[in-house]
């Protein structure tokens, strides 16, 4: 029967050694395969040559050279569980294992590196902080879209009216994201202006023309920034005001 090229050490599974411990194997050979290891560690050959080892790493001496002592040195900082294969010659496969960064240089005319893109693939962000910032950006963009939406529907808007009265559409404190006046009529002239008033003093619409004339108009899609008090003001019994608004 032919002698096995290599055998496992330990032969009945893995063994665990503590951090700082050295595990000696009095075995002769010229080939070592790290069959399994949950840490990086060192291998000493005949107490001299020091090799940096990890799972799936293989070592082979030159053809006529051999070692007689293999020492497993655990300097990983953790316990080390491992199993080696040790013998002569070893067995090779076509697998290519690459660890660490790989730099690729393509300067040949008939070689081509292609990037494969996946259409319709959702971008998933694992970092919660980054995802949160993306959500904020999306909300801000949607808010801008809402602000600029043309008057094609009054869906979502609230109706308010006033005759010789003042109706608060939104206080300054509650106006945290802005108010849109979708539509509102206004009346100027005569006794006093009537229309949309901001912060108790400023009317969006014209006030008086100085000639005692009365004129009317309509506001549409006016975005009022956050922090501003918004009221619908009717200055008299013959000043019928209406508005549709949205508090964002």
């Amino acid at each position: 029967m032919a002698r096995p090229r290599f055998r496992a050490y330990p032969n009945n599974g893995t063994i665990t050694i503590s951090d700082g411990e050295t595990y000696p194997l009095n075995v002769r050979g010229n080939f070592i395969n790290v069959k399994s290891a949950d840490q990086q560690f060192k291998i000493l050959l005949d107490g001299q040559e020091e090799l940096q080892a990890a799972q799936n790493r293989r070592f082979r001496l030159s053809e006529n050279d051999t070692f007689n002592l293999v020492e497993i040195v655990n300097d990983s900082g953790n316990s080390l569980t491992f199993q080696l294969e040790i013998g002569f010659g070893g067995v090779e496969s076509d697998d290519v294992s690459i660890t660490g960064a790989v730099a690729v240089k393509n300067d040949a005319t008939d070689d081509e590196l292609q990037v494969v893109t996946k259409a319709g693939t959702k971008l998933n962000v694992d970092d919660a902080d980054t995802q949160g910032k993306l959500d904020d950006i999306l909300a801000l963009l949607q808010s801008r879209v809402d602000q600029r939406a043309p008057l094609t529907t009054l869906e979502g808007a609230t109706f308010v009216s006033a005759v010789n009265a003042v109706v608060t559409i939104c206080t300054a404190a509650n106006n945290t994201n802005g108010v849109i006046i979708r539509t509102s009529n206004w009346i100027a002239g005569g006794i006093a202006p009537s229309g949309i008033r901001l912060d108790n003093t400023k009317f969006i619409n014209p006030e008086l023309n100085g000639f005692g004339d009365t004129y009317v108009g309509e506001l549409k899609n006016i975005y009022i920034p956050a922090g501003v008090k918004v009221e619908l003001v009717s200055s008299g019994v013959n000043r019928d005001l209406n508005a549709w608004y949205e508090v964002l």
Partner: protein, 70 residues
């Protein structure tokens, strides 16, 4: 939502003057409505004697007070 406020409570002379100009006051319980406001489905009217009447526009139910809140 904040309760609306009346802008100006007209005097009887002012009411007479307005009617003379052709303005027709609506009435509630035979009293002239001198101011009105609506917001978010609730209406409040002020009558010439200072009385306030509040009602839910959806149900028509009269309310004792304006549903307050900022």
């Amino acid at each position: 939502m904040k309760k609306p406020t009346i802008q100006n409570m007209p005097t009887s002379q002012e009411i007479t003057a307005l009617e003379g100009d052709g303005y027709v006051f609506e009435t509630h319980d035979s009293k002239k409505i001198v101011a009105r406001a609506k917001n978010s489905g609730v209406e409040i009217i002020w009558l010439e004697d200072g009385t306030e009447v509040i009602r839910d526009l959806a149900t028509g139910q009269f309310l004792n007070e304006w549903p307050e809140g900022e």
